[in-house]
Symmetry: none
Subunit: 458 residues, 2 copies
């Protein structure tokens, strides 16, 4: 089956495709807020109906939370499984939106047309690029180039509580030759990227207790131990002078970057000044001797996400507090073992406690880093297909964030996952005035048409 | 005029005196929070009216902040000026109070009756011991044994911004033969104390700014500088391993304890285990090689009174924050210069900032330590009067807290100050469930009746 007429069909049908996306964006499917439960159902129903209209066997599947949508259609090539999510982030603060978040519209901007509204980029717009590519194949040739399944969840923005149980229960049905995920971005807005490295996340909260109650710093100061001082000393000791994390064994299982990937990343000419300049910074502040992209994508980190203790209001209060708390997260890569690191971190903290202080910990989740199997033939096939569509050659990139679904496909279904996305750094996902570039939507759809073609040819 | 009938009158009138104190305690005169401005006015009005009812010429005097109360009444003896403060500390965390902080009540406890509520000990209860002593003298004899003035401020818990200007402007009116201050404690709950050494207080707030806005720790973590880490490093470096403060020049002007005072303090047999045990601690945590009473009374300190930054709510948020803030105080002694130390501290912080971080400071007041003039004859007169009232002989003691007013009386008005108070270590001032022992209130009132008698006799 020829690719060119499919691409031409996508060009010709951009207006109705955009209308369909706007229709989906009008459904306020906020998963984290129970008030929007019926809207999540409505978004799932909309997708089932749309997929059936292009010949998929599609079903809404109940879970203890919001429903999944699962769809299948036959085709000659390998079996691909596409994952996306139809739920969206909350919209507050509402007053910072220029237009109502669920009254999406196409807007002209100096940088080109954009589709503006909650979910435009994360993830409804990205999800529909794949659906529209399938529609164009079907419309032009009456059939699809591969056997295609789709799997959409409605809880991605609220911690995906039903995802792993559902994948376990439906493992046979969801297993495929390759999983495709469209929830990431391009590199620098011009270079299509296939994410091959995702950092994991380990969340810890620790509370140091010194005196059994808040004290007056005049009456007790100098004699009683201050837990803020203890906490500060622990945090200060988590990095050495070169920016390395000091938790014993932390770097066990951290791989060095393969030369091939290093060359590719060097070739990306990452504009670190621009990236940092946008947030008021000028210098990379990570590990000495590492490039900025390594710091972001392939090196593990330790960050303090929050700290509190004592009097935090206006003015001054001479309290010597009983407790001080910090939330600390570690981004993990390669074969780092989150559970071993949690244990080592806790032991290190215990060993730094002075007499009369105690510590309690709270576990805020643990997932390891993941490394995609670029040796799978689909990766090079997809990379060539993307390079045909865009002005720059596609690159294997990393992603500093954590997208656990990729690991679940591998661990639960033994299915390699490939993350391809068309988002841009300025899409303002999770923030007011979220948008998705019309170019991302249009060329994203064309990209998937090309990738399906390439996968079908092998 | 005979003392005994005055003491008997105090015993007889304890119930109505307690009722008056409870009335004053019901006024939530929190000076640091602008929301309570009208309540501070109300507390001042209440005092003016009460003092007028016992024959004082009393007035509320406006300041740029909360008003002062000034009152005068004639008498034959020397001119004594009594200082107290009607403002109280904030009450958070509110959920740790067993009763609402401004619904005070008299409670029976295993250790005796207590008056429970915010301000019961600091300072409304202590202040009213003096007022009630005057009331008893007046009720019994129709006149006072000395010429008595009173001077109450409403900003003691928020750095006393109006105090020095007011004292300068009204120096003639406020000068006296001796100033009496009731805002300190007994030693060990049995030994009445005259405080002859007070630490000063230097308050600083610093805010470290890294990125210009809060960032996603996955997208930026490892590359962008985290201001909480910077702040932790600064705090951790403020003490060396022996517990000494590392701010350059900090110990300039810190005197060694005179042998005479050291002997008196050694004689007090300070129960450090009991003192620390009451607050869940077991070991002195101050400078190595110093006795516990030195740590509390005669050595300077540095404490962190509050810290905050990033996400502090329930659960977890992977934010890399833009800002982190700490409130830090120094207790000063001897000839330490608060302004020089502030400058040195700020310079030290600046020197520790990594590139891309900036710091802003807020000044929360500065006062040096002070040393009372025990050669003034009033000291020995008062010491004998106190020893008559209590089971143990009164002692000259130190006080870890900062009561700058004592220094102001000397420096601005050339009036020596004498600090006598009836607080106990377990009064929980500045904390939830503050209380004042009924015995302190009762015998404190009797003590002042005795002191006034002793001063009038010379």
């Amino acid at each position: 089956m020829a690719l060119d007429p499919v691409l031409a069909r996508i060009d010709k049908d951009l207006a109705p495709a955009t209308e369909r996306l706007l229709e989906l964006l009008r459904i306020p499917s906020i998963s984290t807020d129970p008030a929007y439960k019926a809207e999540c159902e409505r978004a799932a129903d909309w997708l089932v109906e749309d997929l059936r209209s292009i010949g998929f066997e599609a079903e809404k599947r109940a879970t203890p939370g919001h429903p999944m949508v699962v769809a299948h259609a036959d085709g000659p090539g390998p079996h691909v499984m596409f994952y996306g999510h139809y739920d969206v982030q909350p919209v507050d603060p509402l007053d910072l939106w220029d237009n109502p978040p669920f009254e999406p519209e196409v807007q002209d901007t100096p940088a080109g047309k954009v589709i503006r509204g909650r979910g435009a980029a994360d993830d409804k717009g990205q999800m529909m690029t794949f659906v529209e590519a399938c529609r164009a194949w079907k419309a032009e040739h009456g059939s699809l180039p591969c056997r295609i399944s789709m799997f959409f969840e409605g809880e991605e923005e609220s911690g995906s509580p039903s995802l792993v149980p559902f994948m376990r229960e439906n493992a046979e049905e969801l297993r495929a030759d390759i999983a495709l995920i469209c929830d990431t971005g391009m590199f620098g807005g011009r270079t299509p990227g296939i994410v091959t490295m995702l950092r994991g996340l380990l969340g810890e909260e620790l509370t140091i207790t010194g005196p059994s109650k808040d004290l007056h710093s005049g009456m007790f100061g100098g004699l009683a131990m201050n837990p803020i001082r203890v906490l500060a000393r622990i945090i200060a000791s988590l990095h050495d002078e070169t920016g390395r994390v000091t938790v014993p064994g932390f770097y066990d299982g951290v791989p060095e970057l393969p030369d091939e990937i290093r060359r590719q990343w060097d070739g990306l000419n990452f504009d670190v000044s621009g990236f940092l300049g946008d947030v008021g910074l000028s210098r990379p502040a990570g590990e000495e001797g590492r490039t900025p992209l390594e710091m972001l994508w392939s090196r593990p980190t330790c960050e303090v996400n929050g700290i509190s203790g004592g009097y935090e209001g206006d003015g001054f209060k001479t309290v010597l507090p009983s407790k001080a708390t910090a939330k600390i997260s570690f981004r993990l890569v390669g074969q780092q073992d989150p559970h071993a690191i949690r244990a080592s971190f806790r032991e290190m903290v215990q060993s730094m406690l002075p007499p009369d202080c105690s510590v309690s910990f709270k576990d805020h989740g643990a997932s390891g880093g993941s490394q995609m199997a670029t040796s799978h033939p689909a990766f090079e096939q997809a990379r060539r297909a993307l390079s045909d569509e865009w002005p720059e050659t596609a690159a294997y990139i990393g992603c500093g964030g954590s997208i656990p679904i990729a690991g679940y496909f591998k661990d639960l279904l033994d299915t390699d996952a490939m993350l391809i996305g068309f988002g841009r750094d300025d899409d303002q996902i999770h923030s007011p005035n979220e948008k998705y570039d019309m170019e991302s939507f249009h060329k994203g759809t064309r990209s998937w048409a090309r990738v399906l073609d390439a996968l079908s040819r092998g």
